[in-house]
């Protein structure tokens, strides 16, 4: 765990303690379980987003993809009697395909990721609304998928705590993502491409392939979370379902130490970032703050967090420079940099 992750954890504990002191209901099992469920659902697509941010891209269509694929999933199993296992596979495949298209447009057509995924945001939202004719998609009376519902939205009692299965799913995804990002060769490539695509290419890395893979992974994970979210909400109004989720994801990634310039980030950080966002959401509810202020509170905390981080980084750099001087490296430093200071 890096220093950055640790300080985020401390921040979470501080916020949690304060909320618990003001309103002890925060620690009620029911409340904790519900918050955990939210963390599980939001954590998965936040990790998806982190893959893109680490290679220096951005993915804005997460929320719309969650709406479109959620609608399609429910439609497949409710109205078309598709076996839910097959439907799940189809939806994840669709997510992978969306990622493939985005990645291809970004690399081969050289369109900026922001533009590609902004168009995606608009297109998928529109498609979802058109597909359902703007009606709410949901499970009719009698429609029941006990196994699927238990798997996706159930909870298992562990030592008296009803652990939501979404948390289990997040844990599995996070562990795999952590190994892939921080221990595997492919993860090294992801960071290298994010840091300096040109140098990565000169080192023989197939940078386009790496970038496309990142979008494909992001699409697949987003599709998976779309199914969990659909099963949790059980009804989807395509106009609002999942809206702003991409911003939650970006916020969690940034809080967790990802740099929007690429090449930086950690999975633990992203998970902790998600936890903090959900605790804040819970705080707004529990402290009786008008829920209309929800976003404002979140924005303020992120801003303060990033400012604090910046302050710490600069202080560390100053200390680092002083140390560097002792190591006699100062004379070789470029002139310009000192001037900027």
């Amino acid at each position: 765990m890096s220093k950055k992750d640790l300080s985020l954890l401390v921040l979470i504990l501080v916020v949690g303690t304060v909320v618990a002191l003001i309103n002890p209901r925060f620690l009620f099992v029911g409340n904790l379980s519900n918050t955990a469920n939210q963390i599980g659902l939001f954590g998965i697509f936040s990790i998806a987003e982190a893959f893109i941010i680490i290679i220096g891209g951005i993915e804005l269509s997460v929320g719309s993809v969650i709406a479109l694929l959620g609608v399609l999933f429910i439609d497949l199993i409710v109205n078309h009697d598709v076996n839910w296992v097959v439907a799940l596979a189809m939806i994840v495949a669709a997510g992978l395909a969306i990622g493939l298209v985005h990645g291809t447009l970004v690399t081969r057509m050289r369109i900026q990721a922001f533009v590609v995924t902004l168009c995606g945001l608009l297109i998928y939202r529109g498609a979802a609304r058109y597909y359902t004719e703007d009606a709410t998609a949901g499970f009719g009376f009698g429609a029941s998928f006990p196994m699927l519902e238990w798997l996706a939205a159930g909870r298992t009692n562990i030592l008296g705590f009803p652990l939501p299965h979404s948390v289990v799913a997040l844990a599995v995804v996070a562990v795999i993502a952590w190994v892939v990002l921080h221990r595997s060769v492919f993860g090294r490539y992801l960071f290298a491409v994010g840091k300096n695509e040109e140098a990565a290419r000169y080192s023989g890395i197939r940078t386009n392939r790496v970038i496309i893979s990142a979008y494909v992974i992001c699409g697949g994970l987003t599709a998976f979370s779309a199914i969990l979210i659909a099963m949790y909400t059980r009804s989807i109004s395509p106009a609002v379902h999942g809206s702003f989720y991409e911003l939650y994801a970006i916020a969690a990634a940034v809080l967790g130490g990802c740099s929007l310039r690429g090449g930086e980030g950690s999975i633990i950080g992203v998970v902790l970032g998600t936890v903090l966002l959900q605790v804040l959401q819970n705080l707004v509810n529990l402290l009786g703050i008008p829920s209309s202020l929800n976003f404002a509170v979140m924005g303020t905390v992120i801003l303060v967090g990033v400012l604090g981080d910046q302050y710490l980084v600069q202080r560390r750099q100053r200390v680092g420079v002083a140390k560097g001087r002792e190591q006699a490296s100062v004379a070789a430093a470029p002139l310009e940099r000192v001037k900027v200071e």
Binding site: V179, R183, S184, V185, F186, R188, Y189, F191, A192, K195, N196, E198, A199, A200, R201, Y202, S203, G204, I205, R206, G263, A322, G324, R325, E326, Q327, A328, S329, V330, A331, A332, A333, P334, L335, E336, V338, K339
Partner: protein, 505 residues
């Protein structure tokens, strides 16, 4: 020569634990060209920062026009007429020439609206353009200018500030031979107008060409000052490193073998009508000289698979091969040390270890995961082999000096098995000591059977290191030279597209 208008007396600067400048003295008279030389870390940059008012000396006196003070501020330095032309130019790609010259002090009109007075700006630039003999217009977009032309824009900026002293920090490190020549004439022109110049460079022949005297720094001290009459490369090198340097050239241990890399009628996008053919033999360093823009870097990029070849074939050990990507080139054992070290060679804020293993990560793989232990062991080995000076292999390469950074780029490829190594400007921005070590490493590689193609614009290097030379001119080879024919004159003749007279050996 007239009285010095600027005097640095006994300037010292110490940082905790290190003395960057130790009682350094320097005088500059109007119209004088002073070369400031020394290895990286000798204190040149710190001294120039004192002059620019960025660093406050811990001791000593700075006397400008007879007024003595203990330090300068940036404003003082500008008022005293001290201007910098930096190694990495501080210009704006998206502005035109005049906009760059007057950036931050644009003439304004329209009262409180503060609109830019374009007419006056262009009118003010015109005399400067003429004075420097520029071949571009005041409204030329900067993006369309060559590096050498941009440097002239920097110099115009200095002159428009009424600079009396222009400090040029390695101005020729990215210039072609012809452009360097032109810069030398510009320096002479400035001198004739009474402008003084402090010229910082690693290229000693330039010092020979333009300097009135040279001041040599080593370890923060002035270790010698050479007058025009005393100037010689040998004398300068002796002072810089404190010992005599043997001649650069080390002959190969064995005569070169068969052709390893053969480039046959290669056509690149830059020169669609021209084809290049050359071959590099086992155990030799083939120098590739020519002006920047003659197509050398483009050729190397195409051979390495960065760009597509438009035509022609590449043969490795006699077999035609297809190279569609750097990956394919690397698999064949063809490696490139690119010209742009920071942009294309390294991940600057990543450790030495991870930089070295990057092209070969697959071989450190166990069950898809990186075996960091073996990765580290290799980095430690390479650090010793190449004498990379860093406290630890976990150090980020961005904090290393240019020479050590270049060694890390080399280490990337040396950990693998090179057949052909293409090095593009291998010692640009590298100090004298590290240069020698890099040359030594190249020679050891060829002795081990590697074929090296060395692209270089540094005349000393081209002539001093190569076993054989190819010279390019506008996208084609204008001639080959054997060591017996090596001379600055011959290389320049071929580089500008002339042929050399057939001389008997």
């Amino acid at each position: 020569m007239s009285e010095p208008f600027l005097e640095l007396i006994d300037i010292s600067k110490s940082y905790p634990g290190v003395v960057a400048l130790d009682h350094v003295g320097l005088q500059v008279s109007p119209g004088e060209v002073v070369a400031l030389i020394g290895e990286n870390g000798a204190g040149k940059s710190t001294l120039m920062r004192v002059l620019g008012g960025v660093v406050e000396p811990s001791g000593g006196v700075i006397r400008v026009d007879g007024t003595a003070r203990s330090s300068l501020t940036v404003a003082d330095a500008i008022k005293a007429g001290i201007a910098f032309v930096h190694q990495e130019l501080n210009l704006f790609d998206n502005l035109d020439v005049a906009g760059n010259v007057f950036i931050g002090r644009e003439p304004v009109q329209g009262g409180p609206l503060r609109l830019i007075d374009r007419k006056r700006m262009y009118a003010d630039v015109a005399p400067l353009l003429e004075r420097l003999g520029c071949d571009f217009a005041a409204d030329a977009p900067l993006a369309e200018l060559s590096l050498a032309q941009r440097q002239l824009v920097e110099i115009m900026k200095a002159l428009s500030l009424d600079a009396r002293l222009v400090i040029m920090d390695e101005p020729t490190s990215s210039l072609t031979l012809a452009e360097t020549d032109r810069l030398m004439r510009t320096v002479a022109g400035l001198k004739a107008h009474g402008v003084s110049i402090i010229f910082i460079t690693h290229r000693l022949n330039e010092v020979m060409q333009c300097a009135d005297r040279a001041v040599v720094l080593r370890d923060g001290r002035v270790v010698g000052a050479l007058t025009r009459a005393e100037l010689s490369p040998a004398a300068m090198i002796r002072l810089m490193i404190g010992r005599d340097l043997k001649s650069l050239y080390v002959p190969p241990a064995a005569p070169p073998g068969d052709s390893v890399l053969e480039i046959v009628d290669a056509v690149t996008d830059t020169y669609p009508g021209r084809a290049v053919s050359l071959s590099v033999r086992r155990g030799e360093i083939l120098g590739l000289a020519g002006l920047v823009g003659s197509g050398r870097t483009e050729l190397s990029r195409a051979v390495f698979g960065i760009d597509r070849l438009r035509g022609g074939t590449i043969r490795l050990d006699g077999e035609p091969i297809r190279i569609a990507s750097p990956r394919a080139a690397i698999e064949q054992g063809i490696y490139l040390v690119p010209e742009d070290r920071k942009g294309a060679g390294l991940l600057l804020d990543v450790s030495i270890t991870e930089n070295i293993s990057l092209p070969d990560l697959a071989s450190y793989m166990r069950f898809w995961l990186v075996d960091t232990e073996r990765e580290n062991e290799n980095a430690v080995r390479q650090r010793e082999r190449l004498k990379i000076r860093a406290p630890d292999v976990r150090t980020a390469v961005g904090s290393l000096s240019g020479g050590n950074q270049q060694k890390v780029v080399l280490a990337k490829w040396l950990s693998m098995r090179p057949k052909v190594l293409i090095v593009d400007e291998p010692t640009r921005g590298v100090d004298v000591g590290a240069k020698q070590e890099i040359y030594g490493m190249l020679r050891r590689l060829t002795d081990a059977g590697v074929a090296i193609l060395m692209i270089s614009s540094d005349m000393e290097e081209v002539i001093g290191v190569s076993d054989r030379l190819a010279v390019m001119h506008e996208g084609a080879i204008s001639g080959f030279l054997d060591r017996s024919q090596f001379s600055e004159h011959n290389v320049l003749q071929l580089a500008v597209g002339h042929t050399i007279e057939a001389e008997g050996p």
